[in-house]
């Protein structure tokens, strides 16, 4: 630890004066207690459950017919071998390829436009684009779900008016785009604000000189602004990636409207199905652990790859 004298003085003073050494722990205590009770313990418990299973004897009717036994890793192997599992992983991959670049691209574009300050509609647009963040995913899926129905959708009228047959966006390969649209709608504003905040923090003199040299807004954006806000972009990318891997509420809400969205459409939907429809919390726990490990691997792997230190400020 490369602690500088100014900062390391704090704890030294602390230890000299008796009870002070306990101060950081007492500040941390409520967070740690809650963390253990509601995050660590459930995760450990899920890990335990993933190694268990229920064994039924005979017809399985009556009180003593069900016993819980150790299952070893069989829940894991079954989960990975489930013919529905890998397709849902690939689907999530395709979904992520649509959502993350679209959402962050739009967010970056809007943030740059706002930051350039060459419009009178800045405040209005910023507010409007941020607004969907205030709408819970269940409700936004409900709104879009209605708008996707041919009988309600104004786009049906529009497309028909142009002489085409409107596609049924709730079937076939359109569904992926329909779900992705809800995520983009809900997430662009938030990411825009994050990037915008970072852009506003850039000292003006950094690009004022370039401007005087005749650089265009576009050049300034590419050569100066974007490189400076790159750390913010990386973090929004990581958080978007995590959100993508966890997509659940949107397809779940659209499911009753569509034949194409199966009960295992995304990995978390499979967890839900196993736990709540099939009443097999043990398989669900195993799949949960697999998803959690994959999320860690992807996020930390990416951060390692880009050498980002936002998550690792202690070195």
């Amino acid at each position: 630890m490369s602690a500088l004298p100014t900062s390391s003085r704090t704890p030294r003073t602390a230890t000299r004066r008796g009870g002070r050494a306990a101060a950081p722990y007492s500040f941390l205590a409520p967070a740690l207690i809650l963390f253990v009770a509601f995050l660590a313990a459930p995760i450990v418990y899920a890990g335990y459950l993933s190694l268990r299973r229920v064994k039924v004897s005979g017809l399985g009717l009556g009180a003593g017919a069900r016993t819980e036994i150790w299952a070893g890793l069989s829940n894991y192997s079954r989960s990975l071998a489930d013919p529905d599992f890998m397709p849902s992983v690939y689907r999530i991959g395709a979904y992520g390829l649509i959502v993350v670049p679209t959402m962050l691209g739009l967010a970056l574009l809007m943030a740059l436009l706002l930051d350039a300050g060459r419009t009178r509609v800045g405040t209005f647009s910023r507010t409007a684009i941020f607004l969907p963040y205030a709408v819970p995913a269940v409700i936004s899926s409900l709104l879009w779900g209605f708008l996707y129905l041919p009988r309600v959708s104004p786009f049906t009228d529009l497309v028909q008016g142009l002489g085409f047959t409107p596609p049924d966006v709730l079937s076939g390969s359109w569904v992926l785009w329909a779900v992705a649209n809800i995520a983009v709608w809900g997430g662009t504003g938030f990411n825009m604000i994050v990037i915008y905040t970072a852009l506003r923090a850039i000292p003006t003199d950094l690009f004022e000189a370039a401007r005087l040299d005749g650089a265009s807004d576009r050049q300034i954006a590419w050569r100066i602004k974007i490189p400076i806000v790159l750390p913010s972009l990386i973090m929004t990318f990581v958080f978007s990636l995590i959100a993508t891997l966890q997509v659940f509420a949107e397809p779940m809400t659209l499911k009753p409207l569509s034949n194409t969205i199966s009960s295992t459409w995304t990995p978390l939907m499979k967890v839900y199905r196993d736990a709540f429809v099939r009443n097999d919390i043990y398989s669900a726990a195993a799949t949960s652990v697999i998803i959690a490990v994959a999320t860690f691997a992807v996020s930390f792997g990416f951060l390692k790859l880009v050498g980002n230190r936002a998550f690792n400020q202690e070195d």
């Binding site: 005979g58 399985g60 529905d84 009988r151 076939g172 409207l257 034949n259 194409t260």
Partner: protein
């Protein structure tokens, strides 16, 4: 700072009790208070059940029932099973669809109330009684309502095209072709890949029974000849394009019934209540009849929907709960409230007294309940298994694909998927399965 202290206290409390109470029998699931009055909770999704229960509460001041309204049959079962697994949180009384009873019994969620209930057998038709006893001595609930299937159609459209109400499925197919040919936007019905219970009922009519019990062994017959016939029939109509392939119970489908795009519905006795909500503008144009038949000479029927009222194993007042259930489903006042207020079709054989006037939506058909009684009488036996949930979710996925592809061959292939998914799940859990 106060908030922190509360938070810390609560967290500490949680931790200490988490460590101490694992073997504690004092579950807090039921809300019994000290003293004479017994408090019961009742999970149900039937409309206006709180008003039905008011009748009981005023007549029985010492047993107070509180209704907790549920979203529907599936979410309620999900919650109950989680509560059972957790050891607390279940209600005393639970509305349970017939097809869920084996699952709930297998999860030890439903109490055997044979002792508490006494003899009620004579009050119910055999098929309903079998569903709550699973053919044994135990009693896992009292039949509440039943759902004999019926066919609803738009008389004005049929008359205009010179069609008669279909007696057989061949008639139905012919009518579907004629209607669709006359108006490309119109369909006589839809194949719904999201309603496994509907398809199970149609298969039941054809003579299928997807599960069976032989001694201590289960059998599974989802892809038997009868079900194959039903799947092939509907797949053919979808492939031909004369029947729609969109799911039922969507805003889109509701609107289609209302604006005359869907002009028929293979449904159940509770259908008028649904049509009243989603097809209000077509009131007076509908008629109910028996489901089309495979063999007109020996009419048969299936069930879609219907449920029992059960006592959960976590209830601490099983005797009182059984008393309430008996009142609800066999007392004339209870049956009357079920039929009139909750708008269900009571399972009791004495229900005809409470069912004199037809449902408001079909006030043009005075003999509605006569037809319904006929439909109930010819209902075929059907046994549900302990993993109906697995089979049904497999139905959604497999038939969802088939309905999208619009190929008849995919419909029958979907049955093979359902069969193997169901059998694999049972074997994996340890059930004894034949074959």
């Amino acid at each position: 700072m106060k908030k922190t202290i509360v938070g810390v206290l609560a967290a500490t409390l949680l931790m200490t009790s988490a460590c101490s109470s694992s073997d504690d029998d004092a579950t807090t699931g039921s809300s019994a208070k000290p003293g004479e009055k017994v408090e019961l909770t009742y999970w149900t999704w039937a409309p206006n059940m709180d008003k039905v229960v008011e009748g009981w509460n005023t007549a029985h001041p010492d047993i107070h029932v509180t209704v907790n309204k549920q979203d529907g049959g599936d979410p309620a079962v999900t919650k109950l099973l989680t509560a059972i697994k957790a050891g607390s949180g279940a209600p005393d009384v639970m509305q349970a669809e017939y097809q869920k009873i084996p699952t709930l019994v297998s999860a030890n969620a439903l109490a055997d109330i044979a002792k508490e209930s006494g003899s009620l057998k004579s009050k119910f038709p055999d098929s309903a009684w079998n569903a709550v006893t699973l053919g044994g001595e135990a009693l896992y609930g009292v039949p509440q309502d039943s759902g004999p299937m019926m066919f609803y159609y738009r008389t004005d459209v049929f008359e205009k095209l010179g069609l008669q109400a279909p007696k057989t499925w061949d008639d139905y197919a012919a009518a579907a072709r004629k209607i669709h040919a006359a108006n490309k936007k119109q369909y006589l019905g839809t194949f719904s890949a999201t309603d496994a219970g509907w398809f199970a009922g149609l298969s039941q009519q054809a003579g299928a029974s997807w599960w069976g019990i032989n001694g201590d062994t289960w059998s599974v017959a989802i892809n038997d000849a009868a079900t194959q016939k039903v799947a092939g029939y509907w797949g053919g109509l979808v492939q031909e394009g004369v029947i729609d392939n969109k799911p039922m119970y969507t805003p889109e489908w509701n609107a289609a019934l209302n604006d005359g795009t869907q002009v028929g519905w293979t449904s159940s006795v509770w259908g008028p209540g649904v049509l009243e909500g989603n097809a209000a503008s077509t009131k007076g144009k509908w008629k109910a009849t028996l489901l089309p038949q495979w063999d007109a000479a020996s009419p048969a029927n299936g069930n879609w929907g219907g449920s029992a009222t059960s006592v959960t194993t976590q209830s601490k007042h099983k005797a009182e709960a059984a008393q309430f259930i008996a009142w609800l489903n066999t007392d004339p006042a209870g049956i009357k409230a079920l039929a009139g207020t909750a708008n269900v079709y009571p399972a009791s054989v004495d229900s005809s007294a409470a069912l004199t006037t037809p449902p408001a939506f079909l006030s043009n058909q005075p003999d509605f309940y006569t037809v319904a009684a006929e439909a109930a009488k010819i209902t075929k036996p059907f046994t549900y298994g302990p993993n109906v949930n697995v089979a049904y979710s497999s139905y959604n996925d497999a038939f969802g694909k088939a309905a999208t592809s619009k190929k008849a061959a995919d419909f029958t292939a979907a049955l093979t998927t359902m069969q193997s998914t169901t059998v694999d799940d049972m074997k994996n859990t340890g059930f004894k399965v034949a074959g």
